[in-house]
Symmetry: C2
Subunit: 351 residues, 2 copies
DNA sequence: CTGTTAGCGCCTTCAA
DNA sequence: TTGAAGGCGCTAACAG
């Protein structure tokens, strides 16, 4: 192969030489600083920079200024539309303040999560928004202590020394069940992916509590867990998990008149599977879920669901982070919970 | 407010002092280099680093090594599930080689796209994967010339000096129409968001061509364009655009027996709106679309669609980029097209 | 107003 | 096998 000449980008010194000024002047002319500089020089510098195609070296700036413009986003997966919406919200805030989003996907691996935290630390990231899969706040706190501004998203980690934004999943769970109870349902099943995440456990707890309040004993036989798999829908583990749960539901001839699904995607998997078996929603069985992803209202039937304000949560997280960065306030373990909203559509009906 | 003591992270020098060796030794001990170093020293250094909580300063490394481990992903929006899948594919490749993904959302703004390219250049990014909204390859070529490794995703920009990965949208369009023709449809409408992007125009061209081949004159009255809006579905512009197109379709009492939709989300918007007006799919009208997002198969009816191998495209883009980086091959304007696949489900039926 | 200069933290020759 | 030292590109303190 032909030898490749390494392309050397022009530096501030090249510009200085070309414009016949000092590097300091170039630096001042190019930065928006209000530092006094004559218009003539400024223009000469700007011109030289343009002719040479000069672009500042970000690494040098970071090193010198001891800071970067990066915000790290650590999430467990990017398959879930929730994160898409959250990213949207986050991006809308940070991009307008000239910051840059570094996306780190842990794939639900605690080890990776820790590595990513270390990476952000290494990079002098301005801050991190973390949807943690860790069960202990130890690692997070360690980085917070070392100065990494952090906001926890979609997860409430007891004892974490940082702002946490979530919704009260348990009361969301209650809300869903109460809606079904009001419609006269008494035999209510629960379909979910494995209850490994705190948020899922919370929803399930809310479900159990509310039934108990009503004098209905929660029943393990009504819990349908679909493994994360791609057996039924090759492109989506949650859809597929929903389908799996529904298959079990049918096999076991479950007589529930309603199913609470852990999220919209699982619900879609459940509904499409039930339909394939000739079971109608909501005539034969009511379905309620959580998230309210954009498609929920355009599904058939339009899905009754508890809105999870994903985009707003993302936006809020970014705002809290930005605030904590610019005011240099930290260590304020503020817990924020967004209130749920029941979106009644057409997948639930009276018994 | 209380004065905040600036937290200073330990440097390589601190570790050197603590371990009573030189900074050079520390550097060598910590890097995986095969440089000879006694086991005893190595362990001492590693221990010191751990006790001090040392983490290398990425900026300094980048400056010194004149390179970063960043891959930039420039996309026009993160609302479209296509990009979600593409990100998934990309991430799966680059994260396994220790690289980091920087997500840059242009919001369909050419100006922002150019700024982002400049930012990546500034940061000595290893490379960029770009889903461009530019209509000319000029800017891209400029950065390619300056050494930024680039792969164009989901867009074929004539004259661009870089690898381009896309599918042949025109033949995808043809494939869709041919399927409908085979089912006996002759009066076929087209529902889309504005035809601003090249990919959309291509699909539309394929649609027109195929009709002409069949002796059917394309008819402007059969083209339904839904503005990007949030009027019908507040959380999703494409869903909403589909709904809008369908409303027009109904208002104008269009008599087409089939609709080609520009993508699955638009199709969902169309279908749910048609249904709301009592029009059945596929009994009254057939719907075909493009993308095959995970939900397509779980919709009702399951959507007949042309699979757009988003994740594979992402993976391929990342692989091409990685390859071009490690082999330092560049300027090889390779055009790659992934073949479409018709997923026949239940939203299309004979006339 | 403009220039000189000293590092920011790290890696990597070169010398020992 | 280890250490000393220069410099990557930039900014900010200090001189002029």
């Amino acid at each position: 192969m032909e030898k490749k000449k390494k392309i050397k980008r022009p530096t501030i010194r090249d510009v200085a030489l070309h414009a016949n000024v000092s590097t300091a002047t170039v630096s001042r002319a190019l930065s928006q600083s209000s530092y006094p500089i004559s218009d003539e020089l400024r223009e000469r510098v700007l011109l030289s920079a343009k002719t040479l195609g000069y672009a500042p070296n970000a690494a040098a700036q970071m090193l010198r200024k001891q800071t970067s413009q990066e915000i790290g986003l650590i999430i467990p997966s990017i398959s879930n539309p929730f994160y898409l919406q959250a990213i949207n919200g986050i991006d809308s805030v940070i991009s307008s303040s000239g910051q840059i989003l570094v996306l780190l996907n842990t794939q639900h691996d605690v080890q990776r999560e820790r590595e990513f935290l270390a990476i952000l630390q290494s990079r002098n990231a301005l801050g991190a928004i973390v949807s943690s899969v860790d069960t202990s706040p130890r690692t997070i706190n360690q980085y917070v202590r070392r100065g990494l501004k952090t906001v926890l998203l979609d997860q409430h980690l007891n004892g974490a020394n940082c702002t946490m934004i979530s919704t009260d999943m348990r009361s969301n769970g209650r809300l869903a069940v109460r809606h079904l109870l009001e419609l006269g349902h008494r035999n209510i099943a629960f379909a979910t992916t494995p209850l490994s995440r705190w948020t899922r456990q919370e929803i399930y707890s809310g479900y159990c509590e509310t039934l108990e309040d009503e004098g209905i004993a929660p029943n393990q036989d009504l819990l349908f867990i679909g493994e994360a798999n791609t057996q039924y829908y090759p492109n989506d583990v949650e859809l597929s998990a929903g389908a799996m749960a529904a298959e079990h539901f049918i096999e076991r001839r479950c007589e529930a008149t309603a199913i609470v699904c852990i999220n919209d995607m699982v619900a879609f998997g459940v509904i499409s599977t039930l339909k394939r078996h000739g079971i109608r929603v909501p005539e034969d069985i009511s379905i309620i879920a959580f998230d309210d992803i954009p498609l929920a209202g355009a599904y058939c039937p339009p899905l009754t669901t508890i809105r999870y304000p994903a985009e707003q949560m993302g936006r809020l997280a970014a705002m809290m982070l930005t605030d904590s960065i610019s005011n240099n306030t930290g260590f304020d373990a503020l817990g924020i919970q967004l209130l749920p909203e029941l979106m009644i559509r057409q997948s639930t009906a009276p018994v």
